[in-house]
């Protein structure tokens, strides 16, 4: 089952507010992603029936948007800005620190499943460059120390 009965009620309510089912497709995929971490094939098939969209059509929308995940991601998603203001302020140096600390490259997930590192266009935090977003929290200006602090806090929160 893709959604629990409670989730389904909430989903259907959201759908009823939309102009037509198709308009809801991005929000619908995110609804599932917010609860499961990503959108798997079973969910896509279910959605294509629910939204009355051909599966290939829905897939083309899913793969267009960078923040719809069609593969599993780690428990925490790190979105590090690599746009021009952050580049001038040294995002490549702090990215090197992240690479060493996590032992992964951009686009990868740590073997323990804790962190996925993705790129994101300009976070609109150019006055606190270089910047990143971890889960839903914006942080900057980044230093190796600040990165360690933020990642340590994620690990600590998980072990509670």
């Amino acid at each position: 089952m893709v959604l629990t009965p409670d989730e389904l009620a909430l989903f259907d309510h959201g759908l009823s507010l939309e102009e037509n089912p198709r308009s809801a497709c991005v929000a619908a995929m995110k609804f599932i992603q917010d609860r499961r971490g990503w959108v798997n094939d079973e969910a896509m098939e279910w959605l294509s029936v629910k939204l009355d969209m051909p599966l290939a059509d829905l897939e083309s929308v899913a793969t267009f948007y960078s923040l719809i995940f069609r593969k599993p991601v780690g428990r925490h998603v790190i979105l590090m800005c690599d746009s021009v203001s952050c580049w001038i302020m040294g995002c490549e140096t702090v990215a090197d620190h992240l690479r060493r600390r996590l032992g992964i490259d951009l686009g990868e997930t740590t073997p323990d499943g804790l962190f996925t590192w993705l790129t994101i266009p300009c976070l609109g935090a150019c006055d606190m460059a270089p910047a990143m977003m971890v889960d839903e929290v914006l942080c900057g200006p980044l230093t190796p120390e600040l990165i360690d602090k933020v990642l340590d806090a994620c690990v600590a929160a998980d072990s509670l």
Partner: protein
């Protein structure tokens, strides 16, 4: 006397949100009462036209004029849409985030007034996923405003109805292009549409729609409350109002500054942003985000407004400047920007989809010391062939604007990279 700052009054950067009672205390929603209580939609349009307000999202189109393109109702009962474009993703731009996070009610009031002017019955705010705090605050403010009767059925007893929705996107710079944004709202890939027809005539679901930048909409309540003359006089030059200017890069105090339109560039960079960090010199700057042409130190005494920046061959764009200092490699900077544009091309038209990656790879080769003779000619050809008129939308022309100007201003740097086979920075 300090100049008025209507847009950012009461906003503390990264501070608390202005609540509904606080906004009302500051005179909030008075412009809505004034418009609904005694102005016809066309009077609102005329006032905004007379104010000289131009779009703050990049293109600078006169706002009132855009609204006047929406056909009159004349018995047409179908939906009409006002869409606030909060997909702020232009590299180096961070102004709309402040306005939504700091004072979401100001935006809601702007949406309501614009919707009233074009007789829309739906107002959307399209906001990027990464603006989480802005979204949460806006959603809360929308609930407050609905509770107080500012949107919904028969607003303030005027007979005007408006449904208000906040739509959270899922990434992609392309969504900021107005027709691509509409397609995205309809549940598709964010590809652009042919223009004409323009959205005010054929927009969302084929219905009349106006897409407007956040900062632009935030100006509207102040114009309606204080009048067109008051607004015109805020500007120091021919261009009206105040502008939320931004400065990023290696200055002492990067940030946002609301100043009269037409404030000299030097004042923005040296006084408000504190000037360059010690030991660094300003070499060039992008006046309004990554898709504007480089400007030089000789332009610093110019007023930062639409007309003057255009006369200098660039565009005010979003008004958020990116500073290139003398210790940062211009080739590297350009490579970074073209990487962004190549990645964010939606792939809909061939020149952009194929051309931008070629530009990016050529720049990467030059920056990494693998540049070859003839590379600069390849880049120059792309700067021309991806320009206006050759592509479906403005993404590629915007991408090659900084490229063309960099080839002109930093020619020596490119040639040194190719000749020496390495980056000298």
């Amino acid at each position: 006397m300090t100049a008025p700052t209507p847009l950012t009054a009461g906003i503390i950067p990264n501070g608390p949100v202005i609540s509904l009672p606080e906004y009302e205390e500051m005179g909030g929603y008075q412009a809505l009462r004034k418009a609904l209580g005694g102005m016809s939609p066309s009077e609102v349009i005329e006032t905004v036209k007379a104010s000289g307000l131009r779009g703050r999202g990049g293109a600078g189109f006169p706002t009132g004029l855009k609204w006047s393109f929406v056909p009159e109702r004349n018995g047409d009962t179908g939906h009409r849409y006002l869409v606030a474009n909060g997909d702020e993703m232009e590299p180096g731009t961070f102004k709309d985030r402040l306005l939504i996070e700091g004072n979401p009610h100001q935006l809601i009031e702007g949406v309501l007034l614009a919707a009233y002017a074009m007789e829309a019955d739906f107002g959307y705010v399209f906001i990027r996923w990464a603006y989480r705090d802005a979204f949460l605050r806006l959603r809360h403010a929308a609930a407050e405003a609905h509770g107080a009767g500012y949107w919904g059925h028969d607003i303030l007893g005027s007979g005007f109805n408006l449904e208000f929705h906040v739509n959270v996107s899922a990434g992609r710079y392309m969504c900021g292009e107005e027709t691509a944004l509409l397609t995205s709202l309809q549940g598709g890939r964010a590809n652009p549409r042919t223009k004409p027809p323009f959205p005010p005539v054929v927009g969302l679901y084929g219905r009349p729609s106006v897409v407007q930048n956040i900062e632009t909409l935030c100006n509207v309540p102040h114009i309606i409350a204080n009048g067109a003359d008051w607004y015109r006089e805020l500007g120091l030059t021919e261009d009206a109002g105040t502008k939320l200017y931004g400065v990023s890069g290696k200055v002492k105090n990067p940030g946002l500054f609301e100043l009269p339109m037409g404030t000299p560039i030097r004042e923005i960079v040296e006084e408000h942003a504190g000037g360059m960090r010690d030991g660094l010199k300003l070499r060039a700057f992008l006046p309004g985000g990554a898709s504007t042409r480089f400007m030089l130190p000789e332009h610093l005494d110019m007023p930062m407004d639409f007309g003057h920046v255009e006369a200098a061959g660039s565009r005010i764009g979003t008004g958020t400047m990116i500073i290139l200092d003398d210790r940062t490699c211009p080739v590297g900077m350009l490579h970074n920007m073209e990487h962004f544009f190549a990645q964010e091309s939606c792939g809909w038209c061939t020149p952009c989809r194929e051309g931008l990656p070629w530009v990016e790879k050529t720049l990467a080769a030059i920056e990494n010391g693998d540049g070859r003779e003839g590379d600069l000619e390849i880049l120059e050809r792309h700067a021309k062939m991806l320009g206006p008129g050759y592509t479906f939308c403005a993404l590629a022309p915007g991408a090659v604007d900084p490229l063309a100007s960099a080839l002109e201003h930093f020619r020596d740097d490119f040639e040194t990279h190719i000749r020496d086979g390495k980056c000298p920075y």
